[in-house]
Structures are given as structure tokens and as C-alpha cells.
Subunit: 203 residues, 4 copies
């Protein structure tokens, strides 16, 4: 029951956040120039929608696989809230980043850095949740051979390292920083390291 | 458990998207002309609300019948995310289409084409999910006689073909294109081909 | 499973709709006159929030008791969608009504009539769902003595009759029409006729 | 089943409300001054987001622990709706408060008082729900030693008392009032008095 309601609440928050992403796409409408111009001027919003949707989607998939093997107590509930606090910030951070991506000045750097910081906050919260899952003997992770454990941690760390790189690049070229974030998302779609966390599915 | 959480998340996203549709109905309010004019000028928004609500509703009903008989793995999770990515775009595409439907110029064509492309994306993603359901022997579809299988695929393809026709018509007469989309929605309310997908209910 | 997902989706839609009601309360903010004036000018929004929240809340409670004893098939799914289509319209209808309530002209009449029509649509859809619940022998309602059945139907019809009265009054005095809608809501909080629908709870 | 759907609906409403909090963060965008100025001028929005997110999060955690041991009847459903009515008001109250926090005039006092009144309404509704949980012998609370019962009630009352203090302080120094609300939130993260309410977990 504990776990069920944690999942239901998390699914609810993630579902609302992922849907609110599309609010950033709404255009001004008639009387604000040809539609084709309005849409093409907003290409950063569409690219940002795609990348943020994928990123939240991956967090949902991995959250789902991680929680399945966790003992849910009060600490887990609050660390999960900490994770959701960053998830909820993503539509705001995505919209701000997309609005300034092509401004070509300091605002483009700042808004991209803000976006990446929110994603890093989310990744760190997810890491904390993963850390909490190791407290219990029943952890599927702890049952893995040491070599595989190191491999899982390496993969996991790789994503965070890429975000650090993207954060630095944000101050040089915001579009390239966004590209890195997009590559991380695509990478995690194909990387199924988290399967090692699910008992009986790592075959 | 896997399937339960996939359903819960999908239901959440679809529920939020279907509810956000109504945001497109909000009028400017006092000081923007008589209410009756404001409302009647916006008839495309009301028609579009009806059609998009029905379309998302049907996707929910069919999604629900399809998932019930599926083995949920990581590939299904991501194809499902791909489906939801289009569902989430519907309030935006509906609002944009309704805003330009009566503009009588190229913007009406473009916004209608955008709307239909989003619906086609959703239909294609649904088709992929259906395809994935055939991988497993337990698939209710595969247990059907060949003739019924062909019939199910024909019905399914019919909807997609109608969207292709609507897409072409969008560049000639956007209101007729919308009418086609509406007919497809009404058709799928009465067509219960998907009952063949549910074990024991195809009697 | 069928019923579970119908409930989950309905709960999701109702939860989003009830929460979006509060969007109508947002004020213009600094630079638009003293806050006390902004808030007191908007008293209709607060009263409307209260009444609509209560009305949607009652629909949720009764929906929940009705669905519990129903056999869920494709027809029920679509009638339920029809019900939700009106629920989703409530934040829009509430906001429009509140914006014009004190305008003192034809717009006040029209917006109140629109609001009541949406509530009536919801009540009719709920009645259809109730009617569908009678198709099956297992219906708790059908097991009741005839006298109690007539009593339940009377109570149920009373609410709809009050909405018809309110609709007429909307064209004379919108605030009194709103008062009637409010009384209906309060009445249904204390009326627990729907307990007769729940097997074993009508003691 | 009763309890399950009450939890699902409450989780849905709380999830949407907590996510809508972030809507208050959206900035005006390009053409409204440097981004750094837009963001730093809005520091109250970010602080308010943090405090309201934490406060709603704690209500969710405690709601979850309280409902687990309750017998859900019609009265509980409506008291729960009363609680949710305040939860739904939080994004509006948070946004208004943040918009006026630094205005330095009567509006700052009023908007902070409004914010705290909404939180107090929520706390009172939660207290009513707690009171309802005592009606039944099975209540984990009633099984506690008298001394622990008094301790639980003291802790619970402490939060409400702090809100009363904050309400008074709102008319002297709004930022200090917000600080008190923030301290209450942080206090309840670390206070796990509610564990006494969960059978078998108070060790």
C-alpha cells in the first residue's frame, strides 16, 4: 500500500509536469504575423519540448524500476518529494530556456544554465533515491557481481558528468549545450542499465 | 505491477491532456464586446473541443483494451511514451487549429495540417503499440481466424487512411478536413473492432 | 481491472478539472489597483469557486458509489466520457459566469445560463450512467423495495428540476440563479440517497 | 476499494495543485529586461514555491498515513473534499503572496494574511479528518498510552499555533511571517509524530 500510493502520487506529478510542457508551445495566434513565421520562430520550443518530454519520460521509466525494489519509509517519501520538486520545475525551466535560446546574448547562457541546473538537481535527487535503495539487503543491485555494480555506477555517473559538461558549454554555446542534453536523453532510452535493478529481469 | 503503473501514468497524462483542451475555450471577458459575439466568433473552438475530446477519449478506451493483453517491457514503455508525446500535443494543436480555422488564408490550411499531423502521429504510435502486442503468443489477436485478423487490420488502416485524406483536404477546405476528422471519431465510437483484442469478449 | 481503470481515469479528469477551478481566482497583480479592491471586485469568482468545487466534489462522491456496483462495458466507457466532457467544461463555464455575474446586462443572463446548461448536461449524463446501472440484475437499486426506488428517483429528479428552475431564473436574476445552484450543492452534501445504491450500506 | 479511490482522487488533486505551483514562476520573457533582473526580482516566487511545495508535500505524506488507518464513509469523503478545497487554493494564494511580498505596503500584509489563512484552513480540515479517525476503536491513536496521546496532540497543535503567530506577524513584517511558515514546514519534515498513527510502525 505504501509503495502503491508513492507511485500513484509520483505518476500524477510526473504526468501533470510532462503535459504542462506543451503549454510552452502555444502561439500568440491571429494578428501576430503569418502562422508559419510564428511557428518557425519558435523552433527552440519544439526542440525543447522533445528533449524535456524524453528526459521526464526516462525519469518516469527509471523511477518506476527503482521504486519497485525499494522499502518505502518516511525518508524515501521526502527524498522522492525532493526529486518531484525538480520535475515540477522542468516546464518552467524548459519554457524559459526555449524563449532565450536564440537571443544570442548573456540571457541565452543564463537560461540554458538554469535549465541544466534543474536537470542536474533531478539527477542528484534520483541518485539519492538510488542510494537509499542500497540500505536494504533485498536490493537487487547488491546481489549483482562487483564488476556489474561498478558498471552500473559508471553508467549512472556518466549521465551526471555529461550534465556538468553541458553546464560549462552553456556559457559558450547554448545550442550545443542543448544538443548534449538531447544526446543524454537518447542515450538513456537505449541504455537499459536499470534492468540490473529489477530482480529476475537482468538476463 | 508493471502494467498497473503504465496504465496509471498513461491515464494521468491522457486525463490532464483531455482537461487542458477546455483551456482553449476561455474567452477574453468583459470589455471585449458582447458575450454572445465572443462565444459565437469562437464556434470553431467549441467544435474542435468536441472532436478532440472524443478522439482522445477513443484513444483512451482502445489503449486500455490493448494494454490489458500486453506483456509490458522497456520497449513498450518507450513506444507508449511516444504515443503520449502526441496526445500531449493535442490541446496545443487543437487550439491553434481552432484559432485559424475561419481565417480563410494559408494559415487555416497550415494549422489544420498541423492538427491532422499530430493525430496521425498518435495513430502511428498506437499502431506501433498494436504491432508490439503481436510479438507474444498470448496475443488475443493472433488467436483469431485469419479472416477476422484481416478485417481488424482493415478497420484499423481505414482510420489512418481517412487521416491521410483529411491531410490533403486541409489544403483545399480546412472545415471539410475537420469534418472528416470528426466522422473518424464518431465512427470509432460505434466501431468496436478492438473487442477482438480482448480475450473472451469477442462474442 | 476494467472498473479500476475507468475509476482511475475519471478520478484523474475530475481531479484536474476541480484544481483548474482555482485558475479563475488569479488576480492581475501589482499595478492594477489596491489588492483589497482587486479581491473584493472578484467576490463572484470566490463564490463560484466554492459552488463549483462542491458540485464537482458531489459528482465525484456519487460517481464513485455508482460505478462500484456497475458492470463496465464499452457503452459505460463512452457514457462516462460524455459525463467527463461536461465536467471538463465546468472551469470554463464557472470562470465565464463569474466574470459577468455583476455586469448587470444580457451578458450576465447568458453566462449564467451557459453555466447552468453545463451543470444540466453533467446531471443528464449522470442520469444516463444511473440508467445503465439498472440493466443488470445485480443492481443494488433493483433490489430495493418499490417505495424506496420511487423515493430515490424523486430525490434524483429534484436536483434536475432545480437546475431547470435556475435556468429560467438566470434570465431574471443571475445571482438568485447562482443561489439555487448553491442550494442544490449543499442539499446533495446532506442527502445521502446514493447510499441505497451501495449493497449492504443502506442500514 | 472505498479507501483506494479516496486516496487516488486526493493524490490526483494534490499532484495537480503541487505542479501548478510552478506556473507562478513563469517570467514575461524576452523584451522585458535582462533575464537576470527578471529572475532576481522574482526571488519571492522562488522562495514561496519552495515553502508551498514542502507544505503540500507534508500534507500528502501525513494524509497518506492518516487515511491508511481510517474507516472511509460519506462524512470522511466530504471532510476530505473540504481539505482539498484549501489545497487547491494554495497555488493561487502562493502566487498572490509572492507577487506582493516586496511591495512594502498594505497589500503585502493582506496577501500574506490570505496565504496563511489558506494554510490554516488546510490545517483545520486536516485536524477534522484526524478527529474523525478517532471515532473507531481500531484507531492506532487510541491504542497509544495517554502520555503519548497528549504528546501527539501537543505537536499537532504546535503547528496550528505557529500559523496563528504567523498570521499576526503578517501585519507587521510579511517576510518574517513567511519565514515562520517555512520553519513550520521544515519542522514537520523532521517531526515524525504521525508515525504514532500507523499501527506497528511506532518503534
Amino acid at each position: 500500500v505504501e509503495r502503491g500510493r508513492l507511485e500513484a502520487f509520483s505518476d500524477g506529478v510526473i504526468a501533470v509536469a510532462i503535459t504542462l510542457l506543451a503549454l510552452n508551445l502555444f502561439i500568440a495566434g491571429p494578428g501576430h504575423g503569418p502562422l508559419i513565421t510564428q511557428l518557425s520562430d519558435r523552433w527552440p520550443s519544439f526542440v525543447a519540448y522533445l528533449i524535456s518530454f524524453l528526459t521526464i519520460g526516462i525519469v518516469w521509466v527509471n523511477h518506476h524500476e527503482l521504486i519497485r525494489q525499494m522499502v518505502v519509509d518516511r525518508i524515501v517519501l521526502f527524498v522522492n518529494l525532493f526529486l518531484l520538486m525538480f520535475v515540477v520545475l522542468i516546464p518552467f525551466a524548459t519554457g524559459t530556456m526555449a524563449a532565450y535560446l536564440t537571443s544570442g546574448d548573456a540571457d541565452a547562457h543564463l537560461s540554458m544554465a538554469l535549465y541544466i541546473l534543474v536537470l542536474m538537481g533531478m539527477a542528484i535527487a534520483f541518485g539519492l533515491l538510488f542510494g537509499l535503495s542500497l540500505r536494504h539487503r533485498a536490493s537487487a543491485f547488491l546481489a549483482l557481481p562487483k564488476g556489474v555494480q561498478r558498471f552500473v555506477i559508471f553508467r549512472f555517473t556518466a549521465g551526471n558528468a555529461a550534465y556538468v559538461v553541458a553546464l560549462i558549454v552553456a556559457f559558450i554555446s547554448p545550442p550545443i549545450a542543448l544538443l548534449i542534453v538531447g544526446i543524454v536523453a537518447v542515450y538513456y532510452v537505449f541504455d537499459n542499465t536499470s534492468r540490473y535493478l529489477v530482480p529476475g529481469s537482468a538476463d
